[in-house]
Amino acid sequence: MTITYKKVNDWEGNWASITKKEDGNFVMSIPLCNDNTDYQEYLEWVAKGNTPEEAE
């Protein structure tokens, strides 16, 4: 199972959230919030040298 993340912009082009995927399939949308444990997992993933896919 491969975990990846993708940045999502809002309608004004600002970074609004992160999409988590497993094997390319949508798992959840994560807010940019330090108190959110899924966001903390994302930060740990980045700290390990991974890079999220940029927003479209």
């Binding site: 309608w11 959230s17 949308s29 807010p31 919030c33 899924d38 903390q40």
Partner: protein
């Protein structure tokens, strides 16, 4: 004002004092042996939420990978990659008062087999804020049984959260379960956190650790953790109060009717392929929640009086908070949609779709 003093045979005494006003006051004691709590006796003394396993917004049966996964509300599983595992919300028929001393509706059943053995699977509950009972003596009580006589261990773990100190964990007690329901209690002093750094999402975790390398079917209900030196009777909290407390951590919208559709929120279409919705949350959640779905295609955007269009993407928008959220969505091109059209997001097919907002620990 008269009083009666009961003196212990070696130390201590209890004074029963008559009220200063005229009249007769009667204190009825329970017919069976019990504990009269004199400290922390007012409401909400149980720090465990959903201790009687009544609430299970995500569903009543969980059988896929349960590593680090919430099941019944507030109850998380670490299955340690067992080859088979399941968690279900089970129901009692009426008459359970003869076992528990009160009618109980539900219990949690966890079944594990063939774990790796290195770290056995466990059922856990996280109490928000590591400061909640730090440095205090607490008593944990629960009713449990297993499919055969087996030992389980109870552990605590002080989790200091993101950016905080390293966890402090220790075993509390070991219990030998039988195949019959029994109440287990233990008292422990949670370490002081003086000098520790508390980060984001800190919590006190209680783990019910299963035996390693052994298949087990474990049943549990009426779980209570209280800042007290003895176990008091399980605290009865109204269903609506307990549900609201659960929703601080998880809020699920779903369509369960085969004839109806679940409307998630009102929204505004701003293009022929996209729009933004606004969702008011029922309670203030612990943090900005994550959003997971049964499948994006389970949901549709609905232009009243015109048609519905299946969603192709959905995500949290900016500027949400713990009380309300913005949701951005995309759908197949439809010329009826466009600038400032008032729409709804609802389920694409009747009876399907689950929309989970999670601010869990």
């Amino acid at each position: 004002m008269a009083s009666i003093k009961l003196k212990g045979d070696t130390s201590g005494e209890v004074t029963i004092q008559a009220p200063s006003v005229a009249g007769t006051t009667t204190l009825n004691l329970p017919a069976t042996s019990s504990t009269l709590a004199t400290q922390n006796a007012l409401g909400v003394r149980n720090l465990i939420i959903n201790g009687d396993m009544r609430i299970s917004q995500r569903g009543t049966s969980f059988t896929s990978n349960l590593e680090n996964t919430y099941t019944l509300d507030r109850w998380k599983i670490h299955d340690r990659l067992c080859t088979s595992r399941s968690v279900t919300q089970e129901s009692f028929s009426t008459g359970s008062v003869s076992t528990f001393g009160k009618e109980v509706s539900n219990y949690l059943r966890a079944t594990f087999s063939n774990d790796s053995g290195a770290t056995p699977p466990f059922v856990m509950h996280a109490i928000e804020d590591v400061k909640s009972v730090a440095g205090e003596t607490v008593t944990i009580s629960f009713w449990a049984k297993a499919d055969s006589a087996q030992d389980i261990e109870l552990h605590y773990s002080q989790q200091f959260g993101g950016g905080g100190s390293s966890e402090v964990t220790a075993i509390i007690d070991t219990f030998t379960l039988t195949t019959s329901w029994a109440k287990y209690t233990t008292t422990v002093t949670i370490p002081s956190i003086s000098g520790k750094t508390v980060g984001t999402s800190s919590n006190l975790r209680i783990d019910w650790r299963m035996p390693a390398n052994t298949a087990i079917t474990y049943d549990m209900t009426l779980v209570q953790l209280e800042a007290n030196t003895t176990a008091t009777p399980f605290e009865n909290r109204p269903y609506d109060m307990e549900l609201e407390r659960c929703k601080r951590y998880c809020y699920v919208l779903e369509s369960t009717s085969v004839t109806g559709r679940q409307t998630i929120c009102s929204a505004c279409s701003h293009a022929t392929t996209a729009g933004i919705g606004f969702l008011q949350l029922p309670v203030e959640m612990r943090a900005l929640p994550s959003l997971s779905l049964s499948a994006v295609g389970d949901w549709a955007v609905h232009l009243p009086g015109v048609n519905r269009s299946q969603l192709t993407a959905l995500a949290l928008g900016a500027n949400g908070d713990q009380k309300s959220l913005y949701i951005t969505f995309s759908h197949a091109t439809h010329t009826s949609y466009g600038s400032a059209k008032y729409v709804f997001i609802d389920t694409w097919i009747s009876g399907t779709g689950q929309f989970i907002l999670s601010a869990e620990l």
